[in-house]
């Protein structure tokens, strides 16, 4: 009964409404866009099967250098500093630093760069195969110095990435897959395609993509709902009425936690169901795993909700809601930033937001599966431990043994004045 009452409290809160809107917005703006067309089966003797990444300096270096010169001349650097796309424009100071790097790796001086008449529009020409092809805008001719080692080149690329603000094409984790691509063979392409159907049963691949997008928001949004909900007793001047009742602190705190988590799972289940229907309609003739998206959503995303909610509850009880949001925001930012640009294969034992932003790469995911399982169990256990501590803090506050930590600016100031 208490559980249902608490669920009702969550349901009618403004922050929960904002949560629902944001979850659906994330789903429709990010995931839905990847469900427009089905994957096409590769055929023999196709001219192109796509590319695959292999670290070959002879391919990587000229390709990355030409790209960097292009980006410099247009002063437009695409990047994913926090997992989201950003078009970075450098100021004069940073442009000068970037020019120094370009000079060292390409032999093109700053003066040459500045005097070059650059047209942002590339050109379309008829290729050898008779197909129209896009040519990058013309740039000054690149002469890679013979003294430039591959190691030094990678150092400079890393420096360029930092100037851009991280998460760029030149980031250490991405540079190979961005600039050292070799054509796939028909066999490679077919194997990958078959895995999509046989191993992933289609929905398995989409489930990873869905969880990748939704995991980003579900690692941060619940903290707002939890903080608002946990502060409600104090805000409504209801604290002492609740404190003086018979119910045990553990029962009250765990019930409130369970109701918050369950209510926040519901929109996830709904979007997962919509995702399943959408994917199923894309591949009407194929056998799909009907539970893949829901199952992955629960295993992958619930620990995110549990952890973010637990941080919101424990820090609100211990210090304040603002500090809880700040702490979770920092953890979220750190987790996403740590996986900069590496949108697939970015799962380790302690990252809060596992990433896998691709319909392919089932092998990569399988290779990381034990880490992934450990990761999800770790965050689940950590969340429950935090709630146990929250119940203890609540009991101490309730009995007047502890009044919460006061680390407000005003308090720090008055202490320093004393």
């Amino acid at each position: 009964m208490l559980f249902l009452k608490e669920c009702k409290k969550v349901l009618f809160s403004l922050t929960f409404l904002i949560y629902i809107i944001t979850v659906f917005a994330m789903y429709y703006t990010q995931f839905q866009g990847d469900c427009d067309t089905p994957l096409e089966k590769p055929l023999p003797n196709q001219s192109d099967y796509g590319m695959t990444a292999k670290e070959i300096p002879e391919i990587l270096m000229p390709s990355a250098i030409e790209s960097l010169v292009n980006r410099y001349l247009s002063n437009s650097y695409p990047a994913y500093p926090m997992g989201f796309y950003k078009d970075v424009h450098l100021n004069e100071k940073k442009k000068n630093k970037m020019a120094e790097i370009i000079t060292e790796i390409s032999g093109i001086t700053k003066q040459e760069l500045d005097n070059f008449t650059y047209s942002e529009e590339g050109t379309m020409t008829v290729g050898a195969n008779g197909m129209m092809q896009y040519n990058e805008p013309e740039i000054p001719s690149v002469n890679i110095p013979k003294t430039l080692t591959y190691k030094r080149f990678r150092e400079l690329m890393d420096k360029a990435d930092k100037i851009i603000g991280g998460g760029s094409e030149y980031n250490d984790n991405n540079i190979v897959e961005n600039f050292s691509l070799v054509p796939k063979t028909y066999e490679d392409a077919l194997e990958e395609y078959n895995k999509f159907f046989d191993d992933d049963k289609i929905t398995g691949a989409y489930a990873r993509l869905y969880c990748d997008y939704m995991g980003i928001v579900l690692a941060i949004l619940p903290v707002f709902v939890a903080v608002s909900f946990t502060s409600l007793d104090k805000k409504s001047r209801m604290e002492q009425l609740a404190y003086s009742r018979k119910i045990s602190s553990a029962k009250l705190v765990f019930t409130r936690y369970a109701s918050l988590v369950l209510m926040m799972i519901i929109p996830v289940i709904i979007t997962a169901f919509i995702a399943h229907i959408t994917v199923k309609s894309l591949y009407p003739e194929n056998t799909t795993d009907n539970f893949a998206i829901i199952k992955n959503a629960l295993i992958w995303l619930v620990p995110n909700i549990m952890f973010s909610t637990a941080v919101g509850m424990i820090i609100t009880e211990l210090i304040s809601g603002i500090i809880a949001i700040f702490i979770q925001g920092t953890l979220w930012f750190g987790s996403i930033f740590a996986g900069t640009g590496s949108l697939t294969g970015s799962i380790n034992k302690f990252t809060l937001v596992p990433r896998h932003n691709s319909l392919y790469g089932a092998d990569v995911f399988k290779a990381e599966h034990s880490d992934f399982v450990f990761n999800r169990i770790f965050f689940t256990v950590l969340s429950l431990t935090m709630i146990l501590i929250t119940a203890f803090i609540y009991e101490q506050k309730r009995g007047g043994k502890f009044n919460g930590l006061d680390i407000s600016f005003k308090n720090i100031k008055s202490k320093s004045e004393t």
């Binding site: 409600l232 002492q240 003086s244 009742r245 018979k246």
Partner: protein, 298 residues
């Protein structure tokens, strides 16, 4: 199970400040008034009895249960804090139902009790009203209903009439007297009129100490022969205020009738002995225990 609260040698500190200083009290069934100035330690004592504060020293038993058994104490105690409200978007009925669940009451009992209590506090017509739409008086009545919901043996009410208009105050005091027929009701207040209208047994607190405990008639008896009235010209008023404790002044054309407290017959021409009221007796009690009752007189 005995039906009284026993408080023995209780101390409570907030950091270095002593909020309760060797408090000793015995409270039996019926209305009990705890009178004292703001900051005297009344709320601290009320919260300690409601298990919301921890004492540092001493012993408290509520109906034979040691205060350390918080869960048991909470199950037999109803508490109405000085400053409280409920979830603003919940209705009156929903709020009571929610608090009933927190008290561990089953659905059927809650339903019956809520119906009875809403009738008793005159809120039946407003049961579907949201808490945010209630007036101050209605909120207080809802407060008493929530405190009585689980049929507690002890009811603790802290400054319940603050901010109420005279009509609501009278209604509220009568309600407290009615519920005190079946249980211990502790009324903490700084308003002497509330005590006068409801309590026979009282205690007076100051600076965390119990200055006095007894009945209202005993308190009045202590002040007999210590209260005087005098008709004085306006020009003598500052002098009187400087030398005596003034408990009342009634301006009448050229003269002002001044009510004063004095240990001995005042050295003022025309001073006559008067029957003490509870306010006089309270002031005399503070004065006789060495408390500063000058009230800022120059």
């Amino acid at each position: 199970m005995d039906n009284k609260i026993e408080i023995r040698n209780v101390d409570k500190f907030y950091g270095r400040k002593q909020a309760l200083d060797n408090v000793n009290l015995t409270i039996s069934q019926g209305m009990f008034g705890l009178l004292g100035r703001n900051g005297a330690g009344k709320t601290t004592l009320m919260k300690t009895l409601a298990t919301l504060h921890k004492k540092q020293k001493g012993k408290i038993t509520v109906c034979g249960i040691p205060i350390e058994n918080a869960k048991e104490i909470r199950s037999i105690t109803g508490y109405l804090p000085q400053d409280f409200s409920m979830y603003p978007t919940m209705t009156v009925e929903e709020s009571l139902d929610y608090l009933g669940i927190l008290s561990g009451m089953d659905s059927e009992t809650r339903k019956k009790r809520i119906k009875t209590l809403l009738k008793r506090v005159n809120l039946t017509e407003h049961k579907h009203k949201k808490v945010k739409a209630l007036s101050g008086g209605m909120k207080r009545r809802l407060g008493i209903a929530q405190a009585l919901l689980h049929e507690p043996r002890v009811l603790i009410v802290d400054e319940p009439t603050a901010g109420l208009d005279p009509e609501e105050r009278i209604r509220f005091r009568n309600l407290l007297c009615e519920v005190a027929e079946e249980r211990i009701v502790i009324l903490s207040t700084h308003i002497v009129g509330d005590i006068e209208a409801t309590c026979e047994d009282i205690a007076i607190m100051n600076n965390g100490k119990i200055l006095w405990q007894g009945t209202v008639s005993e308190l009045l008896k202590n002040a007999v022969g210590k209260v005087f009235t005098i008709n004085a010209e306006k020009k003598f008023l500052p002098q009187i205020k400087n030398n005596y404790i003034v408990t009342g002044m009634l301006v009448q054309n050229e003269y002002t009738t001044v009510r004063i407290i004095s240990e001995n017959i005042p050295d003022l021409q025309g001073a006559v002995t008067a029957d003490p009221n509870l306010e006089d007796a309270y002031m005399y009690c503070l004065y006789s225990h060495g408390c500063d009752v000058s009230g800022g007189n120059e």
